[in-house]
Each structure stands twice: as structure tokens, then as C-alpha cells.
Symmetry: C2
Subunit: 459 residues, 2 copies
């Protein structure tokens, strides 16, 4: 093989399709012009959130969202839209939960705003009444043991540690009480658990979210709920006045039989490497309480808009571009697993997979998995994206739906918008469309589109 | 002079007081711990906005705000608080403005949400009725001339150009129709002007703001108002159906006699260079419609908190640190001028002056005036502040209140939070405390405090 041939081959593989930084810069400006003036992100999100609304897995709304996403992807310019089947859990909240106390002196009734955690069993139909024991950690629970806990309602009263710069870190530290708290308390004979909402702010919205019964810890499944920040403060105050305070809980949630559902996968076939996929995704399901605007309608419409970015600007991608609206991120991850299985079965190759699931706020950064050297390549785009408010590109990151692909060596990218307000709305009735700012949503969509575009151009 | 002496002198001047980057980094982490867990920014802002409220220059509320700011500065830890007198304009809105049309066919009355611009004269008491002529630029107005404009109401219908990444640029391009539009239209015989609100979003809040009659352009002063985005769309639609549409305007605003008012200046004396001042400021006055939360209660409480950062952490500043709550930024700038005069009179030396007047959002960047090499020094702090969401340090920047100091060669710093939502609320009834996120306010306050701290340590 001649030297010339080798050089040519290297050239063709690594440079020929690449633009210069100045061409990239011009392309990005056009991309952002599109996003800021022509994109349908905001209108799509308005429809999904206000016309369909909260869409927990297995619900009618989740099914409607699948139909809508398919249509929206075709409208955005997908060549093909696949529905990828998966079986999802079907948990229903039932009648609105109640939590009350009666003051022993004044006989006055106090109500506390709560919501059942996703996956919880119901209380007995007439409700349950028991004393409450406050704990601030699992260590404290273990110290109390059966003597201190049996027959009581355990109240996990753990606050966000606001010294953390990332609210995600605050959440990461506290969510274990939501997820694992019920079985740990049941082990000592607790009859129910209440968890202080994983919230950045003190308002009266309770934050739901998934919990899991661990039958290796305790076979008994006890009802569990989240209490709003304000209500948790009120409960603390009452407990201080009367440590024997009895709380009455009523929840009639239930887990029905699994339902068939779908990931929605829209793609534009690549012109040069059609068998290599670049993926942008978010999750289509949401909790039932709000409209699933920040979590994660935003990520879904941003992903769909990647298709529109190509189609409406007449750009032909080199690789195959996929927008994926994953199902069942919130309480099971069935969609993520189904996507992995389909990828394996069809021996699909992914160049990169990006997930947007941290709200529709202004751009801030991305976390990039280091697999296959993606991190270095992304870092080379940083200067280009800096004017568009992408402050940092850090190692690590991904997303719940794309994380199963890691076992296949797929490089993962997690998009990270400015996250200070995310846990104000997360999993609450307040996660509604009016909390979305059009420009913030579009700028972040533009950054996502640009990362996909640059990855396509430089691989 | 020996070489040794020269080196020692250089050392003493530029390094001896300086900490190492690692010491700086440790100090900043402590500063942010303070801001995120102990600061009073949010509580102070709650009081200023919800207990005092909108505080236009000359109003009772502005006077209350002066008293409050003095108290808040002492509570934050000021050694001394000065009230710097200035005479301010006293414009009053009067009874809520109205704007209506009657459909010639259906006889149906339509109302449009408007607000008088600050400084406008009133309409005649019974109101004025005239045809409306829409223009999209001053060029278009000039082309229409007297023949097209005389006796009519000129409607400046200019939208934000959303291709701009900075909403401030959108504002900068359109605010001239608010400021200079009335005199330019009056020159051709217009009887009033309506301006489409300088707004990023299409809701029904009209955005007030200052206007100025330019008597060199036209001696006649005509009433002028801003119309909400939604109402402006409605008016356009009506005009399309009936180009002879008559609009009825009623405004009874008035300019009363000037009132005495004050800047509030709180300081902590420097231990090593007491005659050199580092200033952090915001403006205490606001428009009357909302509560002046983002504009600019946020900047005021962030400035006051710089004093608390020193006092409550027991840090002794080397230079004298000043928090300044300027009066009358919105409609006159009397406070900024009074501060300059006092500075001149007392021959005060300022090392730097920082202004925060772009909302209480997450940190994004700073603009720094290049005078005296400040820009380079600030850029050297960039890596330290990057983890705290300070993305950029750019040339240029300052603030309306500190800009008079430029003539004395004072280096100016403009703090720039994430600005996508600022013009959603700016100068409207919607600029209220509930639009403030505690962590965003505190993080930006922390960046401001850190810049003051580093400037003090390294000068």
C-alpha cells in the first residue's frame, strides 16, 4: 500500500467530512436562528402538556402521548417512526390522599398536603391512625429499632443541603429515603412512612416519585407518601407540642396489571453512514400530578426538534439521526431496556446517545461519558458553543433511559440546563407549561441540536 | 535604589496582600456556604417587595425604602450609613389608564391593556379619540410625514428580534420607540403614541418605562403609553379589519414638583486602605406597577449582603467596602449624579464599582470596563468563579447608576445574570417577589460578593 494511499485513506476517514471551525461557527449561527425563530419546541410542548397533560405509564394519557409523539416526529421530518413495544407497570393514585391530625387540647383538625409515592400500596379503606416518629437518617432509624418504631408511622424529615451548588446533588442525597425508606421502616414494624418532599423550596406542593419495596429487607409492604415542605414543617411543630400525636392517613392507590406501551423512535436516514446512529432522547411518560412540562416534556420536544433542525433547514445528516421519546422512565425504565434489546437484536451501532431530562431551562453544560474518546471530541466543540451559553463540558453524565446502552459501549451525553429551579417543580402538580420560558427552552434545544450536528459532522 | 529594594517594593505592592489561588478557592467556598445557607438576601427582598412594594421616585414607598435600606445596611454590619441627598422627579400615574375601541359593525367595545409611560402628560380629562396609524420604524414615520400622521395616534409596533442571544440587545433595539417616539410623532402632528411593550413574551402585561420629550424635536408634549403584547396583537387585527378604527385613550398621569430623596450608602471601613473604596450597588427605586423584585430589589439586597459577607464571617476588608442603594435610576438618574458629586467633593478614590441591575437570576457573567487594567485582573479570577456558574468575563459593561463615575476613571463592573426571562417581567405589574428563586438570587449574590472580596484581596 503506497504512502499516498494511506494518507488519502486517513484523510477520507477523519477530515474529508469535517468542516473548519469557521464553517462550524457559521452553521451553528444558522441553527440557532432556526431554533430561536422557527422551531416548534414550544408549541409542541404546549400541546403535550396542556392538551394531554400528566401521562404516567399505563394511563390513557400515556397512550395519547405515544400517538402524539409519532405524529409530531413525522411533522418534524422523520423518514420513519417506529413504535418500540414494552410492558409497563400501571400504578394508579385513586382518590386524592388525605393526612390529618386532631389536636388533643383544642380538638382542632389539621390537614397536611401529601401525595402517595409511585408504587405505594393503599392504606386500609377507612385509613390508618398511628403515632408518628421523626427520623433524620437511616442510622437514626436503626438506633430506634423495633422498640421505637413498631406500630408507628416513620417520618423521614431530611432537608436539602443547600451548600451544594448542584440541586441534583441535594436530590441524590435525600431520594434514598423516598425509594428505600418504606421497606427499612417496615422491617422494624412501622405501619407507614411519610417523607419530607425532595424540594428546593418551601411551598405546599408534595413531590411524588418512585419507591421500591425490597422484599429482601422486609416482606411487608406499607403505604408511603411524600409531604409538602410546608406541611412537614407544620407536622414538626405539632409533634413538638405533642410527641404522642396521632396521624390519620388515607390513600387508595393501587398497582394494576402491566400494560403494553411504546417508545417512539423517529429517524432520518444518514446519507453516508446510514448504519450508524446518533440519538437524542427524553422521556414521554411523566408523573400524574402535573403536566410533565420540565420533567420531561421539555426533553421530548427538544429531541423531536433535532429532526426538524435537519429537515426544515435542508441539511442531510451523514449518520442516521434518531429522536427517541422513551416510555416509563419514572417508574420502571421499561422503555430504556426495550431500546437496548432492540439495539442488540438488530445489531445497531450508535455513535452517541444524548438525553435531556433535567428541565427546560437555559443551557449550562453537558456531562459526557468518556467511552470511545467522545469526551475529547466534545471538548473541542466547547469554544463553538460557548456563545450559546454552554458553560462547561464535564466527564460523566448520561441519563436513565440511555444508560442501558452503556453496556454496549455507546458514548453517552447528559444535557444539563441551569438546574437551580428544577427541584422546585419536579414530580409536583406545579410542573406545568406556564413554568416554561420559550427562549430558555429553545436555547437549550439549540445546544442539543448543535451537539448532534457537530457529532454528525465530525465522526 | 538597590535591585533588592525594587523587587521588595514590587512584591509589597502586588503580592504581599494577595492570597494564593488555593487560599482564594478556600475563601470562596466559605463565602458561598455563607450565601447559600445564612444570607438575608431573600428575606430582605421579601420585605422590600411585599411590605413596601413598587417605589417610584418621589413616592411614599420610595421614602419608606430609604428608611428600610438604612436599617438593613446597619443590620448587615455597616459601620456607617450615609444618606446622600438628591432631588428627584415626581411623576404619578393617577387613575388606571384605559384604551378602548368600538367596532363599527357590531358596536362591540374592545378594551386594550395599556399603561402610561413614565413622564407622559395626561390626555384631556374626557380622554382623546383618534384614528391609529401603525408604523414599524422611524423611517416609516418620516415617510408618512404630516400627511399620514396629523391628528392620529401613532402605534409603534416593533417586536423583539429573537435571533439575538441577549434579550438586552432586543431591548436596546426597541426602547428608542418608547423613549423618543412621542416627540418624533408629535413633530408630524400626532396626538398620542402607543408603543408595543418591550417584552420577550406575549402576555397581557404592559411594560412601562421612561420616555423623554425632546423639545428641540417638537415643543408639543403628547400623551404616550405602552400596550401589552396581547393587546397590540388585538389592535393590529382590528386595524386590519378597519383601517379607520378610532381608539379612545384616557390617561391622567402628571408630573408634580421635584421631591427630595436619597441614595443610601452603607460602608465598612478598610483596615489597610481606608481611603480607597470598592462599591457594590443596585437601585432602590422601581416602577410603580409591580414590586420591583427583579428590577432592582435584587441588586439592592445583593449589594447590602456584601456588607454581611464581611461582618458575619468576621472578615476585615483591606479597602473600604460600600453598598449603595441608588435612587432614581428609572426616571432621571439623580442618584447616580449625586453620588458622582459627593465623590468629587470629598475627593474619594474608588478601586472599582460594580452594579447589579439585570434581575435576580442565576449567575452568568460580568462585563468589565478596561479602565486601569481591571479587566485583566478580573479575568484572572475567572477560573476561581467558574464552579459558581460565572461563565464569562467580557469587556464593557457597567450600570446606569455607576456610569457617571466613569469620567473619574473608576473601573466599572456590570454583573450579568442569566437574562432570558428579564424582559418577561421588566417594568410590569408582574415583577413580583414570587418570581424570585432563592438559590438563584443567592448564587448571584455570592458571585458579586466574591468579586468584591477578590478585588479587595488583590489590589
Amino acid at each position: 500500500m503506497s504512502k499516498f494511499y494511506i494518507l488519502s485513506a486517513v484523510f477520507l476517514n477523519s477530515v474529508s467530512f469535517a468542516q473548519s471551525p469557521s464553517q462550524d461557527s457559521t452553521s451553528l449561527r444558522k441553527i440557532f436562528d432556526f431554533y430561536l425563530t422557527e422551531s416548534h419546541c414550544y408549541k409542541n410542548l404546549e400541546y403535550l402538556t396542556t392538551q394531554i397533560g400528566g401521562r404516567i405509564s399505563g394511563s390513557t394519557q400515556a397512550a395519547q402521548a405515544v400517538t402524539w409523539a409519532k405524529k409530531a416526529m413525522y411533522e418534524a421530518g422523520a423518514d420513519t417512526v417506529y413504535l418500540q413495544p414494552c410492558m409497563v407497570p400501571h400504578w394508579v393514585r385513586g382518590v386524592k390522599e388525605t393526612c390529618t391530625t386532631v389536636n388533643i387540647k383544642t380538638k382542632q383538625k389539621t390537614t397536611y398536603t401529601i401525595c402517595a409515592l409511585g408504587g405505594s400500596v393503599a392504606t386500609p379503606i377507612p385509613g390508618l391512625i398511628a403515632e408518628v416518629i421523626e427520623v433524620n437518617s437511616f442510622d437514626e432509624l436503626d438506633k430506634l429499632g423495633e422498640a421505637g418504631v413498631k406500630g408507628k408511622i416513620v417520618f423521614y424529615n431530611v432537608f436539602f443541603d443547600h451548600q451544594h451548588l448542584s440541586t441534583g446533588t441535594c436530590y441524590g442525597e435525600t431520594v434514598k429515603y423516598r425509594w428505600a425508606g418504606p421497606s427499612k421502616a417496615a422491617k422494624y414494624g412501622a405501619v407507614a412512612t411519610i417523607v419530607r418532599s425532595m424540594s428546593s423550596i418551601n411551598n405546599d406542593f408534595p413531590h411524588t416519585g418512585a419507591m421500591g419495596y425490597d422484599t429482601t429487607v422486609c416482606k411487608t409492604k406499607i403505604p408511603c407518601c411524600a409531604m409538602s415542605y410546608v406541611a412537614a414543617d407544620k407536622l414538626l411543630k405539632e409533634l413538638k407540642e405533642n410527641p404522642k400525636l396521632k396521624v390519620s392517613l388515607k390513600m387508595n392507590c393501587a398497582t394494576l396489571k402491566d400494560e403494553p406501551s411504546f417508545n417512539v423512535v423517529g429517524e432520518i436516514k444518514g446519507t453516508q453512514k446510514p448504519n450508524e446512529i446518533i440519538l437524542a432522547g427524553g422521556h414521554l411518560d411523566s408523573w400524574d400530578l402535573g403536566q410533565g412540562a420540565h420533567d420531561d416534556g421539555a426533553g421530548v420536544v427538544q429531541s423531536i426538534e433535532v429532526l426538524a433542525m435537519y429537515k426544515k433547514q435542508g441539511i442531510k445528516p451523514r449518520h442516521t439521526i434518531r429522536a427517541v421519546a422513551f416510555m416509563n422512565e419514572e417508574n420502571g425504565g421499561a422503555g430504556g431496556r426495550a431500546y437496548l434489546e432492540d439495539t442488540k437484536k438488530n445489531k445497531l451501532k450508535h455513535i452517541a446517545a444524548l438525553e435531556s431530562d433535567a428541565g427546560g431551562f437555559s443551557p449550562r453544560g453537558i456531562g459526557a461519558d468518556t467511552t470511545l474518546g467522545l469526551y475529547k471530541k466534545l471538548v473541542s466543540f466547547k469554544e463553538l458553543l460557548n456563545p450559546y451559553f454552554l458553560q462547561y463540558i464535564e466527564r460523566g453524565g448520561g441519563g436513565a433511559d440511555i444508560s442501558p446502552l452503556k453496556q454496549l459501549g455507546v458514548p453517552l451525553i447528559g444535557f444539563e440546563p441551569d438546574g437551580q429551579k428544577y427541584f422546585d417543580y419536579h414530580h409536583t402538580a406545579d410542573d406545568t407549561f406556564d413554568k416554561i420560558n420559550k427562549r430558555e427552552l429553545e436555547l437549550s434545544a439549540g445546544v442539543i441540536g448543535s451537539i448532534i450536528y457537530l457529532t454528525d459532522m465530525h465522526n
